[in-house]
Amino acid sequence: MKKKLISISLASIFIIIFFVFYKGLKNTNIYTPDVKINYDIPVFSANLFYLNEEVNSANIFKKDKFYLVNIWSSWCVPCRDEHPILMELKKNSNITVIGINYKDNKKNAQNFLNQLGNPYKKIIVDQKGTLSIEWGAFGVPETFVIYNKKIIKKYIGPLNEESLIEIEKII
């Protein structure tokens, strides 16, 4: 009886380990971290793209208003793909689109906006890339929907038609 119990438990342990590895090895090794939302926006002061003056986050983001913060760069190809979506969102008066220009050359960024249009009400310059990390981003493009100074939705990668509908529903 005792021997039987030991062999059954050994067999079940082996089966569990087998399934854990079987499932684990089939998983993709490209890991995307959890999309963390509902945390406060960072407090920062940074330079504006056009005016070249320093601005505080408290002066940009007001309570009871929706904002869309988009991290972009002229060298980022997916940013070009999502640009029409941002231009579409610009037309919506319920939301203000703010851009964070990530590690970019000013001239190239200006050309990018001249060519595709400027959807942003304000553009913040993030030359070192640290501000984007403070927002919880690890690449470009990334987009955040903000309400009451809290991040309520986060998009990793370019926005598409689906995300546009989702954002319009939120606001």
């Binding site: 890991y31 890339g129 403070e134 919880g136 690890f138």
Partner: protein, 120 residues
């Protein structure tokens, strides 16, 4: 008196150097425990990617602001989740990770102990 002054000056210079080294050591220690999210199997310390380089600057900035090592880990955890840490602390998501080896060790120990008692 001159010798004393000279010795004190040397000591002062060396202590400054020590302070500098310790803050760099701290930065290195922290970045070694942070995972580079855009690389595969590399820490922020090892990586030279855009993300890792910005992360190194941010860690330094946070240290300058007076945040402790634990506070920096907590800050990163809030932004990116447990995955950012190579050495995650004990939480409800990591109970199995931390307690399973201990349970297996105790279970194995109990089996060996029982067998030894039986033999004697």
């Amino acid at each position: 008196m001159k010798i004393l002054k000279f010795t004190l000056l040397i000591y002062f210079i060396f202590s400054l150097n020590f302070l500098y080294a310790s803050s760099e050591d701290k930065r290195n220690k922290i970045t070694k425990n942070l995972r580079c999210l855009v690389c595969q199997g590399q820490s922020v310390y090892d990586s030279d990617s855009e993300f890792a380089n910005s992360m190194k600057i941010l860690v330094e900035k946070k240290l300058d602001e007076g945040l402790s090592e634990k506070q920096i880990y907590k800050y990163m955890q809030i932004k990116f989740g447990d995955w950012i840490l190579y050495d995650p602390g004990l939480s409800k998501n990591t109970y199995i990770l931390w307690l399973l080896p201990l349970l297996i060790f105790l279970f194995g120990g109990a089996i060996i102990y029982k067998k030894l008692i039986k033999k004697n």
